[in-house]
């Protein structure tokens, strides 16, 4: 099973081009969608989750359950039957208990039989570790608990396509780990699309990824391969705080970081160090991310000319 997205395009009424001919092939397993805020990730998520219309292009779920294909854009009902969606920004009815609301969603997802529903709900609540508080009102849940509830409803009824939009923003480290484990468990024969701007999440979890900015896919592929591509092209130097502005105009800066109080910059240069003082380093996924956003690799996006 795979999700084929071809030339998906969407422009908002105020002229913003949210999706600019996005094409991706997403196999089963965890797929990471990386990009800065406003890149178009959420638009893509919502379009795939049948909540928004695309202006052009297609998206098809090929080989669902050994059977036929589903046209994601046009056959919304079919998609919804196999969909699990956890939006970036959502709320819950504050005065309803977790168990009641999950039961209601289970009913809406088609579990008509009350007994089967009860079992499914119990199992899922245990899975996301909310069983102990299932009779509490959702209004009192913390951010992390709400996220777990959200993933529980997304996992109702064995979805084949799971879309998770910025799920770990606002979770503490322990909750993040828990969340990752949850996702990893289900990813075996399910297409899981995880959109985030936290590079390390993708590095840890995903076997495929794409970087998207301004509605365009910049790079796509397996993390290891993309990192390997950058070998020999990433350089590092410790500089003075006041030199950052100056150095920007001289080299292709990838990132600026503070390490133990010192300012460390990383730059891109194919072949030779960009400047005296730079030492070579092993690239990381983060370098892939920043480099593609900056336009040094992959599809270029309006990058000002810099001395090579």
């Amino acid at each position: 099973m795979r999700l084929e997205i071809r030339d998906l395009a969407k422009t908002y009424p105020n002229g913003v081009r949210a999706l600019d001919r996005v094409s991706l092939t997403i196999p089963t397993g965890m797929f990471g969608l990386l990009g800065p805020n406003g890149a178009g990730k959420s638009t893509l998520m919502r379009t795939l989750a049948t909540l928004q219309e695309a202006d052009a292009g297609s998206a098809k779920l090929i080989g669902v359950d050994g059977g036929g294909d589903i046209d994601v854009l046009r056959d919304k009902d079919a998609v919804r039957r196999v969909l699990g969606y956890l939006p970036q920004d959502f709320g819950v009815y504050p005065r309803v208990t977790a168990e009641d609301l999950l039961d209601h969603f289970a009913r809406l997802k088609g579990v008509v039989d009350a007994k089967a529903r009860r079992e499914t709900v119990r199992a899922l609540l245990q899975r996301v570790n909310l069983f102990a508080v299932r009779k509490q009102k959702l209004g009192g849940f913390s951010g992390g608990m709400r996220q777990r509830f959200g993933i529980a409803q997304a996992l109702l009824c064995d979805p084949r396509l799971v879309i998770v939009d910025e799920p770990t923003a606002g979770l503490d480290p322990e909750e993040r780990v828990r969340f990752h484990n949850l996702l990893a468990d289900i990813a075996l024969d399910v297409v899981v699309i995880l959109s985030t701007h936290i590079v390390s999440d993708v590095a840890d979890l995903c076997n495929h990824l794409a970087v998207i900015d301004a509605g365009r896919v910049l790079v796509a592929g397996e993390p290891d391969a993309l990192v390997a591509d950058l070998r020999g092209r990433i350089w590092r130097k410790t500089i003075d705080k006041s030199d950052v502005e100056a150095i920007k105009s001289r080299v292709r800066l990838v990132s600026t970081r503070l390490q133990a109080g010192h300012t460390v910059v990383r730059a891109y240069r194919d072949g030779a160090p960009p400047e005296p003082g730079f030492e070579p380093v092993d690239p990381e996924l983060e370098d892939v991310y920043f480099s593609s956003i900056a336009g040094y690799v992959g599809e270029a996006v309006d990058v000002p000319a810099v001395a090579a």
């Binding site: 913003v16 809406l108 008509v112």
Partner: protein, 1217 residues
């Protein structure tokens, strides 16, 4: 999946059941309905809930229909809240993506939510029925007003026809609005519009012509029910089931159609998408693109250095911020669509009502400033309340709603800054609304072509008097919202508090010392301005403003800042927050509060005893229980009055002294004399011409029992000297005493016991309780309105005064030099000196023992009527500026004198004087007739605006003048006995007389138009009868009988027997009874004259018109025109006729119809082209009528509506050829 629909509907309904608010609503409606019904049934003292008179059963069909309909419609906000939130909360909370990405269809979602909301509402409104059932059996409800076993139908029908349809279609519209816009604001706006529609319809109803329109445009359907049952008798209103027919059916169909279409269109437009399409203005919100630059991979660790600013955190600096902060809050609100819509709703309502400003008989009054303010400010007041309530809450919750409170609360700005800024904003909003009122009012005045715009009055009324009260309400709302920790619950409680404040006085809690924000009413009069009523008003305002200041300090102390909202935390914070300035303010305010409170208490309880409504009624009951036994005792009768009135308007003092010549006209000696004069008149001297001692006194009941040393022998005469001083002292709970004014004092001794400043003799039944319901409460038997027609004792009393027949009158009336003192009689001497003007009046013939004293700064218009036996002077004393209708009044006097002299007999005086008095005067309603003097109300005749070009306008200043002049004959020449039917002589004849004068000047068409209004008001009055309707011969004080029915029947008689015959009867009656002393004339004497001049075949008409309550039902079935050989048309009419007799409560029995009725034809303009009298019998009649060719457009029976028929629209039908 169809069953997803049920899953959603059931889930929503079950969740709603678990919410406290749902049950709160149900209880609220039960309580409202229960209170309404219990109050109507008399369980709650003094509440003015009436379904139209005391005989209407409170759980009869009509009462239930109204209660269920109106209470249900008050719930429009609840309908909006429940259905709107049902869908909007998904977007508000942000849970909608889950539903939209689930495998459910749009139909399941949309209608699942809608049906769930509907079910909730139906359940909530069941509370109304529960409340009604409980309320009808509440202890204290008069059992006579409950039907023993109300039919189930009478509950079910209003629900099915009125309430449930409203829930369905209104709920559907609100749901659609909320679903498409994903906001609650449009729902609130729609609620306001629906409310406006309802209020507009209610007001339209006051103009008879627009009844059908009003019935249709009222979305709640209750106006349609009102119009449909308008002319139902009391019996029908209690028992007849309200049908789904006529205008009710059309209203329901119309609004059901609207609701269905809106819901359907909404469903089509609704999209289960994350972002709604173009309907949502938010799409145009500027999405700011993030700035490039630092975003490229850098955690910006090296921003440009930040400038260093020195903060000023002094109190003065923050105080300077106050206006700016308030402006910030204001800007947001003034531009919001919600606020603008509320304002627009108010403006629309005002403009809509401006057209029929103060109309009377379909004719308008001039839009004087006070009149326009009355109407506009009254209508707009609701909106001011709504805005105050809503926006106080919005402002208090502003930061928390925007989730900015953590940031804002952690700022170093003092708490009082935001607190005061928000309060100031609400006040400015109120000012803005009042300014809108002013602009609208001025616009209304200009639209009517009226340019006398009194800015001073506007400013005072709106920005001083009204605003001070609105500020108090704002403080109250602010306090509630501070204390209650939830915005919506806060709104709820603010609504409750406002409601309770309004209702409390009705439940017997009348003392303004504990009614927050109350102050005595003020009525502006052009004559007296605000008068001496202002000080009391301002004392109360000061009192409550001081209290409000304390509330403000309290709210400031308990203001929520930070996350802690529980009581203990707030109290701790309060202690820290209250520093010297706050204590100083609170302390000063408390001192002012207590001091003014003491002063007010001194005035309202000590100087003027506090008498609540209940106490006043008890006094009346005790009066009757103790003293009625003396009712039959022989008492002296007044034969001459020599009175001296010393009025000091600038000191609000009146001194009335004089000598009454009294005689014993009975045949037994009189030893015990009972003298009545009001408690407020402080007696300086009371003395008889013979020695007498005061044996018993109950001054609060006006009772003074004197015993003469030597009994007064039959036929003996003596005199009685009195000296009473009447002056306002301080003020009472209801304000300053309104009897003596700075300008426009009108003393009417005979009107009410409280204003009878001339002592009277003998037990007066006018001091008794008149309402049967009140009497029952004090174990008094019900009493008829008037003594029986054949009462042997009362025929010896005249209807005007119980202690005199005809008197000689002399008065010496002094007032300040710039005023004109007026009373009955002729001017004998007029002297102005030492700043005082004194006029001596004398009546040179005998007159009735009624007179009045009026004094004001008048302009005088003099005119004359040249009669066959000499001239009659005409004088109009009016307030400078009210010249509008002087010409009409003069013409009215002249034409009236001419007609009455010609047709009946001469006028007994040499002058007719019309005197203007202030509109709020306790002494008069409309206009009244004293011997040769007619006081006339400022707001009615003097400021009427008659449009002579408009055929629909009735010249009622002219008409009322003619009516009052007629009273000089019927009441002052011929005085009837004090029995039933007396007003048939005085009022019906006068109304008929004025009608004839109107017809002579304005023609038949105008007269028929006027009679149409009379018919409508008669039929309306029948449904509001609180005792029993009487036929005219036994008329007992019901205005709709002796005015309206009197005019209709006397005209009908004239139409049947001719004007000459009726004149013969009337003048003969006058000749026999003119100035006749006891025994006095009765209605039967007048009827005897009518019978004398009526031919035998028409005698039954006299029975129908005057001796019974007879109603007709004539209807044209068809009218077919056939061309004749000679070129004329012969119209074959098929008409049906029916006659019923009704008893006092309206139960009807059919009687055979056999009489002469008009049949005729009308042209396209409604003018008569043929009219003949034909014999008509019960049932179907075929009549052939000859008409000029092509002339007739409609034809039928009684085309001019002379018969008393509940539906005269069916009298004619279109002519078919």
């Amino acid at each position: 999946m169809a069953s997803a629909f049920w899953a959603i509907a059931r889930f929503d309904f079950v969740q709603r059941l678990k919410m406290v608010s749902t049950w709160l609503y149900l209880v609220l409606y039960a309580v409202l309905a229960g209170l309404w019904i219990a109050a109507a049934g008399g369980a709650v003292r003094g509440v003015g809930v009436s379904f139209g008179g005391e005989k209407i059963l409170i759980n009869g069909t009509l009462a239930l229909g109204i209660a269920i309909g109106i209470v249900g419609f008050i719930g429009i906000t609840v309908i909006g809240s429940v259905t709107g939130r049902a869908v909007q909360q998904d977007f508000d909370v942000g849970i909608h993506p889950f539903f939209f990405s689930a495998p459910i269809s749009k139909r399941d979602y949309f209608f699942g939510r809608l049906v769930g909301a509907w079910a909730t509402l139906v359940m909530i409104f069941a509370g109304v029925a529960i409340g009604i059932v409980i309320g009808s059996h509440w202890p204290g409800v008069d059992s006579a007003r409950i039907a023993a076993s109300p039919s189930v139908q009478s509950f079910v029908r209003p629900y099915l026809f009125v309430l449930i349809p409203n829930v369905l279609w209104l709920g559907g519209c609100f749901f659609v609005l909320a679903a498409l816009t994903r906001q609650m604001a449009p729902v609130y706006i729609a609620g306001v519009i629906a409310l406006v529609g309802y209020l507009f319809a209610v007001n339209l109803l006051s103009d008879m012509e627009n009844k059908t329109l009003a019935a249709l445009i009222d979305p709640s359907g209750s106006t349609a029910v009102d119009v449909f049952t308008r002319y139902w008798s009391v019996a029908q209103k209690n028992e007849q089931e309200i049908p789904l027919a006529g205008v009710i059916l059309w209203n329901r169909l119309l609004w059901a159609a609207i609701g269905t279409i809106v819901t359907f269109l909404g469903y089509r437009a609704f999209r289960m998408e994350s972002v709604a399409p173009t309907l949502r203005r938010r799409a145009k919100k500027k999405v700011v693109e993030d700035v490039e630059g630092e975003a490229v991979g850098t955690a910006s660790a090296h921003a440009t250095p930040l400038p260093h600013a020195v903060p000023d955190r002094s109190a003065a600096a923050y105080a300077r911020m106050l206006p700016g902060l308030a402006r910030l809050y204001l800007g947001e609100i003034l531009k919001s669509p919600r606020f603008l819509t509320i304002v627009l709703g108010g403006v629309l309502l005002v403009i809509g009502n401006a057209a029929t400003l103060g109309s009377f008989y379909g004719t308008n009054t001039y839009p004087l400033t006070y009149k326009v303010l009355d109407v506009v400010a009254g209508l707009f007041n609701v909106f001011v309340l709504i805005v105050t309530a809503i926006y106080t809450g919005e402002l208090v919750w502003r930061e928390r709603d925007a989730r900015m409170d953590d940031i804002a609360d952690s700022m170093p700005a003092p708490t009082w800054l935001a607190f005061l800024a928000k309060f100031a904003t609400v006040i400015v909003l109120q000012v803005v609304l009042l300014a809108v009122v002013m602009v609208c009012s001025i616009a209304v005045q200009l639209l009517h072509g009226f340019t006398k715009i009194e800015i001073g009055q506007y400013l005072m009324q709106l920005f001083v008097l009204q605003l001070s009260g609105d500020i108090l309400l704002a403080v109250l709302a602010l306090t509630v919202h501070t204390l209650v920790d939830n915005k919506y619950v806060g709104h709820f409680f603010v609504g409750i508090v406002f409601l309770v404040l309004v209702q409390l006085p009705l439940f017997g809690f009348e003392d303004r010392l504990y009614l927050y924000g109350s102050a005595p009413g003020l009525i502006y009069s052009d004559l007296n301005g605000w008068g001496h009523f202002l000080p009391a008003f301002f004392w109360f305002r000061l009192y409550w403003l001081a209290f409000a200041a304390v509330l403000m300090v309290g709210s400031y102390a308990l203001w929520v800042r930070g996350r802690e909202a529980r009581v203990a935390a707030r109290l701790r914070n309060a202690a820290a927050r209250m520093r010297a300035p706050a204590w100083a303010i609170a302390g000063t305010a408390a001192v002012v509060f207590v001091a003014t409170g003491a002063w007010i208490f001194h005035n309202t309880h000590v100087v003027n005893g506090f008498v609540g409504r209940e106490d006043a009624r008890r006094l009346q009951a005790d009066y009757e229980k103790r003293y009625k036994q003396f009712a039959g005792a022989a008492q002296p009768r007044v034969t001459a009055v020599d009175v001296s009135v010393d009025l000091q308007p600038e000191r609000l003092l009146a001194r009335i002294s004089g000598t009454l010549t009294i005689a014993n006209k009975s045949d037994v000696p009189i030893r015990d004399v009972y003298v009545l004069y009001p408690r407020r008149a402080r007696a300086q001297k009371i003395a008889f011409g013979v020695p007498a001692t005061l044996a018993d006194e109950a001054s609060e009941m006006r009772w003074h029992h004197y015993v003469l040393a030597q009994p007064l022998a039959p036929g003996a005469v003596t005199d009685f000297r009195f000296d009473l001083e009447y002056g306002a002292q301080g003020f009472a709970n209801d304000g300053a005493d309104p009897v003596v004014l700075g300008n426009g004092t009108f003393l009417n001794p005979g009107l009410t016991p409280e204003t009878s400043l001339i002592p009277s003799f003998g037990y007066g039944a006018d001091g008794e309780l008149s309402s049967d319901r009140d009497r029952k409460e004090f174990d008094l038997p019900p009493k008829p309105r008037m003594p029986d027609l054949n009462d042997k004792q009362q025929v010896m009393q005249n209807a005007l005064t119980r202690d005199a027949d005809f008197i000689d009158y002399r008065a010496h009336f002094c007032t300040s030099a710039d005023q004109l003192p007026v009373t009955s009689g002729y001017v004998v001497k007029d002297v102005t000196e030492n700043g005082r003007r004194c006029i001596d009046y004398r009546m040179d013939s005998k007159m009735t023992h009624v007179f009045s004293f009026v004094s004001a700064r008048y302009a005088v218009r003099k005119d004359v009527w040249h009669g066959p036996q000499g001239d009659v002077a005409i004088e109009i004393d009016y307030h400078r500026g009210h010249e509008y209708n002087l010409g009409r009044m003069v013409a009215g006097v002249q034409d009236a004198l001419a007609y009455y002299t010609k047709h009946w007999g001469p006028y007994q005086h040499k002058i007719v004087r019309i005197v203007e008095f202030p509109r709020f005067s306790r002494s008069g309603g409309f206009a009244e007739s004293f011997p040769n003097t007619v006081p006339f109300n400022e707001a009615i005749g003097f400021t009427a605006k008659v449009d002579d070009r408009d055929p629909d306008d009735i010249d009622y200043p002219y008409f009322v003048t003619a009516h009052e002049v007629a009273h000089q004959w019927w009441a002052h020449q011929e005085v009837p006995a004090n029995v039933q039917g007396d007003e048939f002589i005085t009022e019906s004849l006068s109304e008929y007389a004025a009608l004839m004068v109107l017809k002579t000047k304005y023609g038949d068409a105008k007269m028929h138009r006027f009679l149409k209004y009379e018919l409508d008001r008669y039929l309306l009055g029948r449904g509001t009868e609180s005792k029993q309707e009487q036929p005219l011969v036994r008329a007992d004080g019901a205005a709709y009988v002796h005015y309206q029915k009197g005019a209709l029947t006397l005209y009908a008689l004239q139409d049947a027997i001719g004007e000459a015959a009726i004149d013969d009867a009337i003048s003969s009656f006058l000749r026999k009874w003119k100035f006749a002393g006891p025994p006095y004339a009765r209605s039967v004497d007048l009827l005897a004259e009518f019978r004398r001049v009526t031919p035998q075949p028409l005698q039954p008409l006299i029975d129908d018109l005057f001796e019974t309550i007879t109603l007709y039902d004539v209807r044209a079935v068809s009218a077919a025109a056939k061309e004749q050989a000679d070129g004329s048309d012969a119209i074959e009419l098929v008409v049906s006729a029916r006659k019923v007799r009704a008893d006092g409560s309206g139960k009807e029995t059919e009687v055979p119809f056999d009489g002469e009725v008009d049949v005729g034809a009308l042209d396209a303009h409604g003018s008569v082209v043929a009219l003949e009298k034909r014999r008509v019998k019960s049932g179907e009649n075929r009549i052939t009528l000859a008409v000029a060719k092509g002339g007739a457009v409609r034809a039928g029976i009684d085309p001019l509506g002379k018969l008393i028929d509940r539906d005269d629209k069916d009298n004619t039908v279109a002519v078919t050829r």
